[in-house]
């Protein structure tokens, strides 16, 4: 009997939860805020769906309702992607080690 492709996706999903669990526990508590902003940025990979929606066409060239939703979703995801990664970068730049005593 053939295995439903859904089972494969479910396997990837479950294994990824485990990876996430172990990786996130190893994140140092002092970086929990950047962790939140970066997870926020990467969850905007939903832009993949927004791109499909933006270019879905039913009858050739006219812009459909789905396209408009796609464009809005692209805008929202883009805010998140740029905002999320840049603010994370900005925060990470602030984390500095103790300077050597040579003032």
């Amino acid at each position: 009997m053939e295995i439903d492709p859904f089972i494969f996706r479910l396997s990837i999903f479950i294994l990824s939860i485990f990876i996430g669990y172990f990786v996130v526990w190893s994140v140092t508590p002092s970086l929990h805020t950047p962790l939140m902003s970066v997870t926020n940025a990467i969850s905007s990979v939903i832009i993949v769906g927004a791109i499909i929606a933006s270019f879905s066409s039913i009858d050739g060239n006219s812009i459909s309702f789905s396209n408009i939703l796609g464009f809005i979703a692209v805008t929202l995801a883009a805010i998140n992607i740029f905002g999320g990664f840049l603010v994370t970068q900005r925060m990470l730049q602030m984390y500095k080690k103790k300077e050597k005593k040579n003032k």
Binding site: S30, M36, T39, I42, V48, I58
Partner: protein
């Protein structure tokens, strides 16, 4: 691009995202991690564009949409003050939620473009996944908006409760599950939109009863939801990158919620049911406040004590951030270091308004991260420290949490500041903290209260250290 090739490339995207999170295990590797994250995202966008049939008219709109979003995001990222990070993250979560809803609606109306079947005759598995994705997305959207408004002060931070609230939520929850089930047999637009509306409503209702100081849990929880929403859409679109990312983000948010709950010694259910902090301070604690003697001092006393100490631990809380005292604090520490005083910072897990918030605020004030310690790492050091400087923190230092089983904060992990030789406690008044519990520390013999604004007091101490 062939479907197999794009799948493999999406898998690489997923791996790059895992590496991005892995990088955060230490500040040195974190910037590299962020670079991996950005690479993964660019890869994902490029693969998607190459996988769809691009036609010119929509390409223009797509580029406009991407640019507008990019510019807005960029401006926000550079302008946002670090104290406002919690509301920024909450706001960003709402965008992920809304984007998930829009993608799902789009897929519902033109499923053929997504390879899911035809309108109102979508594959059974896909419609269930779509229903779950749209529902979690909608909950994330409205829930995050409420969290954003509470954090931004656009809405009162106090819990909003009404009779029958939990029943209403339960009814809505059952309705949502039933509607998702009903979509299998009837894919009509009415059912689909009813599902969206019910989900938007429950997102709003589950966040309003949660008090302002429980926001660290709420933001983490919504972080988790935004991940599950992405995963739901990932299943619908049969996209590996989205499934992996959704799972990563979902578990990350769940772990952070757990850490925050543990930091407050509250169960997750207790936070979600809400209403904490509504009980007014019981009258007998107020009486006690009036009866017990309190020692208070001024900046000069504090400066003298710290200058002559050999070690000082700073205990910052959210009040420090509100007073914008972190830069003055750093100046004070610099002066102390010149006097050969050993200074370190002790951070409680729930010291800020979101996980790790206090660390970012200190990092912004140029405090080196290797002087900043978490509760478990520093708690044993208080006993052999001369002075603890508590600034803007309250409940997290209350010894009652260890001694009085009747106290509402009993069992919460606290910083053992009372073990220091002397405690300097900067506070505007004797009012109890968020939990409404009187802090026993105020009346200890070794405590000196410094009644003033955190920033002003710290600046005054700096002057007296010269």
């Amino acid at each position: 691009m062939s479907a197999n090739l794009s799948s493999v490339l999406f898998l690489i995207t997923g791996i790059l995202f895992i590496l991005a999170l892995r990088g955060l295990s230490s500040p040195e590797t974190s910037r590299m991690g962020n670079f991996f994250g950005i690479t993964g995202m660019i890869l994902a966008i490029v693969i998607s564009i190459l996988s769809v049939d691009i036609f010119f008219s929509n390409l223009i709109y797509f580029i406009i949409a991407l640019s507008i979003g990019g510019i807005i995001g960029g401006i926000i990222a550079f302008k946002i003050p670090m104290t406002a990070m919690p509301q920024l993250v909450a706001g960003f979560h709402s965008l992920v939620g809304l984007a998930a809803v829009l993608v799902a609606v789009s897929a519902y109306y033109s499923p053929d473009s997504f390879g899911l079947g035809i309108f109102q005759n979508i594959k059974t598995a896909s419609i269930i996944e779509m229903g779950l994705g749209v529902s979690i997305g909608a909950i994330t959207f409205t829930g995050s908006i409420i969290a954003f408004m509470k954090l931004q002060g656009l809405m009162s931070g106090s819990p909003i409760t009404f009779p029958g609230q939990h029943y209403l939520n339960a009814v809505l929850g059952i309705l949502i599950i039933s509607l998702i089930g009903y979509l299998i047999v009837n894919q009509s637009t009415q059912v689909f939109w009813m599902l969206i509306i019910a989900s938007l409503l429950i997102g709003f209702l589950i966040i309003i009863p949660i008090g302002g100081a429980d926001m660290p849990v709420v933001i983490s929880m919504l972080n988790s939801y935004s991940g599950w929403a992405a995963a739901g859409i990932g299943f619908t679109l049969e996209n590996t990158a989205l499934i992996i990312t959704g799972a990563l983000v979902g578990s990350s948010g769940a772990i952070l919620s757990y850490i925050m709950c543990k930091g407050m010694n509250r169960s997750f259910l207790n936070v979600i049911l809400g209403g904490f902090g509504t009980d007014s301070v019981s009258s007998n604690t107020k009486e006690k406040t009036e009866q017990k003697p309190v020692k208070s001092g001024n900046a000069e006393d504090a400066a003298f004590l710290m200058k002559n100490a050999s070690s000082v631990i700073i205990v910052p809380g959210y009040g420090m951030a509100v007073a914008q005292a972190q830069h003055a604090l750093r100046e004070m520490v610099d002066k102390l270091k010149k006097n050969e005083v050993k200074v370190s910072y002790a951070i409680h897990p729930v010291a800020g308004r979101m996980p790790g918030h206090m660390n970012v605020l200190l990092a912004e004030a140029n405090v080196p991260y290797d002087e900043v310690f978490e509760l478990d790492d520093i708690n044993n050091n208080f006993a052999n420290t001369d002075v603890a400087y508590v600034i803007g923190a309250n409940d997290v230092t209350n010894p009652v949490a260890k001694t009085d089983p009747k106290s509402p904060i009993y069992g919460m992990p606290v910083l053992d500041v009372e073990k220091c030789k002397s405690v300097l406690f900067v506070k505007r008044s004797m009012s109890p903290g968020y939990a409404g519990v009187d802090n026993e520390l105020f009346y200890r013999d070794n405590t000196l209260m410094l009644f003033a604004d955190a920033k002003k007091m710290t600046e005054d101490i700096v002057k007296h250290l010269d």
